[in-house]
Amino acid sequence: MLSDHQKFKNQVIDDHLKSMKYSFTLFIALLASWLLWSGHFEPFILLLGLFSCIFSLWICHRMKIVDEESAPIQLGIRPFTHYAPWLIKEIFKSNIEVTKIVLAPKLKLQRNMIEVGANPKTELGRVILANSITLTPGTVSVGMEKDRILVHALSFEGAEEDLSGDMDRRVCRLEGK
């Protein structure tokens, strides 16, 4: 009985700590973006900025959107160092393919729809995967079930690339600890 109670209490404290962590991250991000976009460093204006950051944080708390999705600190900077370069390369490749299709004197379309598996565990991971699929032209993610993404592709090459599951593995690695 006592242990149950203790467990519940620990859970509450744990949740609280977690929420503190994400609130802190969000606050730092807000403050950084405020400083970046304002470019003024007089004390009065800095104070105003601090107040607006606190106000925004309060609104976010009221809307209950402060969690691992709004302040994804658990990903660290790996999205920028490991994932983005590969994604940029893919974007270049598929852009050139679609450009060839669009500029050909006679449109040679091979439109098809496929379903690819989405293995990332968290919702954030699935959103990153679906957005990456859309970001590479030639493929657009149209619908999303639990662990399947419905993809509309302009050519077979693009569809095959998605079916190979390379992107899926990379996003899984991204969210894995």
Partner: protein
Amino acid sequence: MDLLLAATETNDSLFNDYALVVTSVAILVTMILALIRAMLGPTVFDRVLALNMFGTKTVLLICVIGFLTNRTDFLDLALLYSLMNFIGMVALLRFSEYGSFREEGAEIGSSAKS
């Protein structure tokens, strides 16, 4: 190559300005093409797609014009425009889908939050 060297050494900023002018003309051409699609578009989604593209090009055009006139505070406006574009498009889609801006209950195709 000689011409290029001479141009860059004598008047570098002017030389680069030509690139900015060419870019803004290209962006304007793209905006016109998007407008053509918005006028032709048989369905409402074609029009929204064209509108979205028009908004993105507006952001880019503001950036380029800001650099052309050496007023980099235009970048703040560009970010504001991109925010407005995104929110406006989502609002428009929601309006065309449900006929009002109310919060929907069960959505088709979206995974339920646990």
